[in-house]
Amino acid sequence: MSERILMCGNEALAEAAIVAGCDAYFGYPITPQNEITAYMSERMPQEGRVFVQSESELAAINMVFGAAATGKRAMTSSSSPGISLMQEGISYLAGAELPAVVVNVMRGGPGLGNIAPSQGDYFQATRGGGHGDYCTIVLGPASVQELADCMPLAFDLADQYRMTVMVLADGILGQMMEPVTLDPKPRRELPPKPWALTGMKDRKQNIVRSLYLADGALEELNNRFMAKYRQIQDNEVLCEQYRIEDAEIIIVAYGIVARIARAAVDQAREEGIRAGMIRPITLWPFPSEQIGSAADTFRMFLAVEMSCGQMVEDVRLAVAGKCPVLLHGRPGGGVPTAEEVLEKIRQLTIPAGAA
């Protein structure tokens, strides 16, 4: 499919997953991502692939675990409360080094929260989320097209590094409709899967596990994971830098909030305020180097996010005290407007009394 079609984010990512060669989808309904499950229930069987509506998110992630262990491309999707239930499985996927794609269309929390858009799961997504020393790659798309483009990338990264890739979207991106083009061309050269469980025909037994009882064995495994994670931090960071060269204030925002912030940056420029934006596309690995070097010239950083202040901590770590880092956060389903962000920019850049 290479024509431009109008789709909502949830359906676009589902179709993009199919185009990317997803063999199996397992999921349990939850708002605001129900379109994904419904779409997959129709389309996967049409393609001769697997769809199962599971009894819970616990089961869904473990079905992904089983399919992935046999070398298949498997995914699930959910929203915040369901992603919490999946954390056990995501930890086991990390320990067993299995590739998997998990989509989180975030909603407000904690608890049942609400069904409004949110970015409140940033900590959970970028810090592993479950128990143990591990990371998952986290992608934070900002448009329906980018959401669709994330899917082949997510499957490729998962296969290349044998780990979970989480696509972190929010209720707005999932629901809104935009034109998209789905690109079926292969992107990366991927390693074979000699570890997959396929039955021990013509070879020795394969074992997939995460239990390492021998003295020092787990520490060695953890250290190997850390080396892999460092390699990912070196090679896989994606971010967009927008009008930052001469900027006196740099907004850092991801996902749908970056779209809003971009409008605020443009309006600020029209008013003569030198504003710019850094938009992380990979949330883990975080573009710390890019933000850190932008902080070498003195300016101000303003993190804008739909949470109480989660991503801002990564910005502070990257800036490392070189410049002030401020926060404009809207939790619980609150969505910042461009006007609101612009006003914040004005307050921070126009000296008191000058206006």
């Binding site: 199996a24 675990f65 089983g66 498997a74 086991y92 067993a96 396929t198 037994q205 074992i207 997939v208």
Partner: protein
């Protein structure tokens, strides 16, 4: 010279970590013999539980995976749906299947997943030190029922999962056997063989063999006494029966 007995090659030539008199070792050997006799070693994928049998892949020579506590039927679903030509089995204890994994086994059965479940009921959580399981007998002393399991203390009754599963249209075969004595062991092997055979024939549902299995360590009994206790006590709450199919 006539060979009258040969160890199956599906069982690795090593000693196990199981306690003396433990039923897991017997069940492993039966399972290995069945896989061997059905000639399916090269297309079988096994799922090890969290429990004393977590290291089953060290003894059974087939492709295997170790999964989170109780989730084996969901993992098996993911495997079988994407690999209908493979023979998928889970091997689960009574804590794994009848406590933490109740939802997963009920729903795998309810969806009629074409998998085989080997369910080891030893009336305790062996691995964590002999605590009460849902299958613990009334009056049985465990680490968490030190006065004996008593329903009026809120400790509930022995849970008969196989009877529940047999009621579901999604199961094609449910049988309860016991590892006490040679006839019981032979019957257990025949049941396993039947269950795998159904999967090989693509029978439309889940097959399960529950095995009453001794845990002399946490029953605080000699291996011989433990075998007797299965017959004299356990079989009262868990009658040996072909419950379905």
């Amino acid at each position: 010279m006539n060979t009258v007995f040969q160890r199956t090659s599906v069982l690795k030539n090593c000693s196990t970590h199981y306690c003396p008199g433990c039923g897991h070792g017997i069940a492993h050997r039966l399972l290995a013999e069945v896989v061997d006799e059905l000639n399916i070693q090269d297309r079988t994928i096994g799922i090890a539980p969290v429990g004393c049998a977590v290291l089953a892949y060290n003894y059974l020579d087939v492709d295997m995976i170790e999964v989170a506590h109780g989730r084996a039927p969901a993992v098996a679903t993911g495997m079988k749906r994407t690999n209908p030509d493979k023979i998928i089995f889970s091997y689960q204890g009574d804590g794994d299947l009848a406590a933490i994994g109740t939802a997963e086994i009920i729903h795998a059965a309810h969806r009629a997943e074409r998998i085989t479940v080997i369910f080891i009921n030893n009336a305790v959580f062996g691995m964590t030190g002999g605590q009460m399981a849902p299958t613990t007998m009334l009056g049985q002393i465990t680490a968490t029922t030190q006065q004996g399991r008593n329903p009026s203390n809120g400790q509930g009754y022995p849970l008969q999962v196989s009877e529940i599963l047999a009621l579901l249209p999604g199961t094609v075969y449910v049988e309860r056997c016991a590892l006490s004595g040679v006839p019981g062991i032979k019957r257990t092997k025949a049941a396993m063989k039947h269950a795998f055979g159904l999967q090989m024939d693509d029978a439309p549902g889940l097959s399960l063999v529950e095995i009453l299995s001794p845990c002399p360590t946490y029953w605080r009994m000699s291996p011989a006494k433990a075998m007797k206790w299965i017959e004299e006590e356990m079989c009262k709450a868990f009658p040996i029966a072909r419950l379905k199919g």
